[in-house]
Symmetry: C2
Subunit: 332 residues, 2 copies
Amino acid sequence: MKLKVVTSLVAVVIAMPLFAQEPISPIAPATGINEGQAELGKKLYFDPRLSKSGFISCNSCHNLSMGGTDNLKTSIGHNWQQGPINSPTVLNSSMNLAQFWDGRAKDLKEQAGGPIANPKEMGFTHELAVDVLASIPGYVDEFKKVFSADEINIDQVTQAIAEFEKTLVTPNSRFDQWLQGDKNAINKQELAGYNLFKDSGCVACHNGPAVGGTMYQKMGLVAPYETKNPAQGRFAVTGNEIDRYSFKVPTLRNVELTYPYFHDGEAQTLSEAVDVMGKLQLGRTFNKQEISDIVAFLKTLTGEQPKFSLPILPASTDKTPSPQPFTEQVAD
Amino acid sequence: MKLKVVTSLVAVVIAMPLFAQEPISPIAPATGINEGQAELGKKLYFDPRLSKSGFISCNSCHNLSMGGTDNLKTSIGHNWQQGPINSPTVLNSSMNLAQFWDGRAKDLKEQAGGPIANPKEMGFTHELAVDVLASIPGYVDEFKKVFSADEINIDQVTQAIAEFEKTLVTPNSRFDQWLQGDKNAINKQELAGYNLFKDSGCVACHNGPAVGGTMYQKMGLVAPYETKNPAQGRFAVTGNEIDRYSFKVPTLRNVELTYPYFHDGEAQTLSEAVDVMGKLQLGRTFNKQEISDIVAFLKTLTGEQPKFSLPILPASTDKTPSPQPFTEQVAD
């Protein structure tokens, strides 16, 4: 009788999904999406008319053909200005505890308004962006349908973009297949890399479904990080000395696609990033084999990329203010 | 007996599609496409790694969300340089007698190589672009499959892009539905506009399936066109005085989406463009109603926009040369 109970318990444990015991959990498909908002948001995400120049859209720096990034050290903004920081991926960004490297936006909606009005990014104003949209009947109709309101405002714009961004999850990576019980989904080296990733302490910060995004951490915990990049991280938000050089731990989902790495984009390769992280965050020098194993594991985190039709944008009209790519214009 | 023959002839004439008697014919769906090349070409078309900066792709200036143009007077190139001329639509461009405003490229394949190596556009070289692609296993495999060759070369690159561009036709506009016999597809004003478009002589240049693209014509035929834009048109290609200010007649398909107008992009609205064309090309001042009618007709030329999934680009590797957006680099 006693033996039977034990056997049953073992059976239960075996039947439990593997990830219940792992510090990383699978990416779930997006649910609870407001489809109307997301469809509108997809158009806005691809619309360069939200920039002063008429040339830069959300997708310019968070390119959904390229892992939701621009694959540049730091981004190109209005008038080819060099951005101050590496463009983080939009993929799975709904899982972040906050947005931007320093967490200064509490959620995707708050984030979406930032680049539009940043003079170094899209170089526009919220008022002018709304004026442009309000001059386009295709948008006026769709906003009305989606938000049941007579006038377009920036709150609706950022809400719609955020709703679209919530759809940008990447489930079903090989690692997630393994977590869900397919033992053949990753190979021996990849598994060795994962075990080392756990045992050496990487997982202390890179955990949860997004393998990151759940906390802030100092860049250069054991030894200082040398960079010419002036970003102060979380300190810029809180003013607390303890937050200096503390950045949001980035997601490692799709990290194979989101090169180059770190807030300054100075690590060109995954091997370099793993090496630096080991030394600066863990006080550990990984040997070549170890780096190779961890990199192999990291590449199993590439999930299914969002698949959708390129949106066709509603046409401007005679009343739409013209983009101003080459002249400096005084904002209203 | 004689009467019977005549009756039969009348029946034949009635049964003929309307467009057989019209100077504009419907856009046919793309046929004879090499699907493998077109799929590869779609990726290349969206890949900013074909530019020095890693930021500008074909789609930057021929944006398929926006009628295959950038909707700017003249385009933004590498380092935010102002382009010399308005970016023509890629839609239905396979029907042009030649490519570029001055026809200096004989076909889409020859055109595709131009912007990559133009220092004012993508600012790269063909050699460096091929080096980038050859460092990316996802591309190496696909080129091999599509072209059955061991090495990637620029000829394959431009061939694939051109093949994709051949798919970018826009059939089934309301005007084409009318041409094909649906009398209710356009309204009375639109029909009046079409009749005026024919009767006043617009159709002498804007004809064929693309409603343009079949010939060169002097900009300022009756009266000179005043512009600060230094483009000399076809003269730059032939050196013949008669070709000075002669430009390829642009397609009017999707013209509602391809604002602003003319080679210098100086006409912001369709009304303005029609007014100027009437005066300068036909020696005719259209009144407000006439302009309104022609514009109404022109808007019936908007066809079904190409519908496809945003391509996911193969990832760079440790060996891929980094983009150089902010440093000047001596080309090999």
